[in-house]
Chain length 228, copies 2
């Protein structure tokens, strides 16, 4: 059975994001996958990158450099336990699903903090092992999110610009950098402004997509996909 | 005298980011500007968008919707005091400078949390008052940051893609959405990999730019600037 990690960032279980998460757990479990959820708000996940992420002495206590310190701590097994826990989940996963509402053209800070803190040098990348040779290669990622703006606002030429513009930093800048291949995003546009029936259709569409997810080819994560 | 708010996100005062912030405080103060700094790590600024941001009863306690609740709380004066404090600083400022190290193709989570929590509907935008008619119109913003990757990696056709691709969600998606005009970004590429002398030159270049900053024209914050 394949292993899936869902990194989930919504405060409200009854939200559409909560339902999308539950649909994924249900459908993927039904397929025989082993599914783990990191429910970031419920875990009160710490988003701030600080000295607390390093257990014991610093490599250089004169001038704190977060990237260097977490890299060194990773190598000597000195990262804080919440990070070690998340890294174990990532290590075991074949697929990472990020489920969140779009906040300010990106992921909510609590999820950005998960990226900032979990994807430590030495674990997820280590120069020159980045992009296609990133240390998490062999894994897949999928960004599944809801928007406030409508599909029209996020069309090419729309006031908010092509939604793919926003995906570049997340999909290419983070996941591809770590060697992870990216499946097409799953986007529910403006669920707050549609009927309850339409929202139910959104859940059904997600469940449907998940049924054949393992047959999907990753996108070509290069500028052409995003900006052509 | 003009008013400037510097939103600053680095853990280490001795870092280049710390020095860039100090240079800005010094140079702008010398010009007669009144400068305020929100030192996010020192403030232990909360990045998570939660129910704690609303004082007193919720508008809908059955199903928590952060956007709706903070909007309602803003209107009745019921936002948490740390947010009210930041909003006051924003309201008074003519120019917002964001000073940070690029983390995963974007701002650090602690600064993303500042955006997520401070730029509340009703305060920073309120449909249809967004983009050119955003509620913070008349203000300027400038993103000043350091990178891990080199200028070559962030060139058009470089492995990390044009650095302007990363600026779209921050400059257009956040600041322009709120009606703020954006000055050209200030980018120090890969300071960790250059000599101490080169880093000093970076500080001098920043101070130089600030001397004539108020004569600068904002960029044309449209897809052409980012993706042409």
């Amino acid at each position: 059975g394949r292993k899936v990690l869902i990194v989930y960032a919504h405060q409200e279980p009854k939200s559409l994001n909560g339902s999308l998460k539950s649909v994924a757990v249900e459908e993927l479990s039904k397929q025989g996958c082993s599914v783990t959820v990191s429910d970031l708000y419920a875990m009160q996940f710490e988003p701030r990158a600080t000295r607390n992420d390093i257990v014991g002495c610093l490599h250089n206590s004169e001038e704190f450099n977060y990237g260097v310190e977490t890299w060194e701590a990773y190598k000597r097994g000195g990262l804080s336990s919440d990070l070690v826990e998340e890294q174990k989940k990532v290590q075991e996963a074949d697929l990472l699903i990020f489920q969140f509402p779009l906040y300010w053209s990106s992921m909510p800070a609590i999820m950005k903090g998960w990226m900032d803190r979990v994807l430590v040098q030495g674990f997820a990348h280590e120069f020159p092992n980045c992009y296609d040779s990133g240390l998490l290669k062999g894994k897949l990622a999928l960004f599944s999110f809801t928007t406030g703006g409508s599909r029209e606002m996020y069309a090419k030429g729309g006031i908010s610009g092509d939604i793919r513009y926003l995906l570049w930093p997340m999909q290419h800048g983070i996941m591809h950098f770590c060697g992870v291949k990216v499946l097409a995003p799953h986007i529910c546009f403006a669920p707050e402004y549609v009927s309850e029936e339409k929202r139910k259709e959104m859940l059904i569409a997600w469940a449907q997509r998940l049924k054949t997810l393992w047959n999907e080819e990753p996108i070509n994560c290069s500028p052409e996909w995003y900006f052509k």
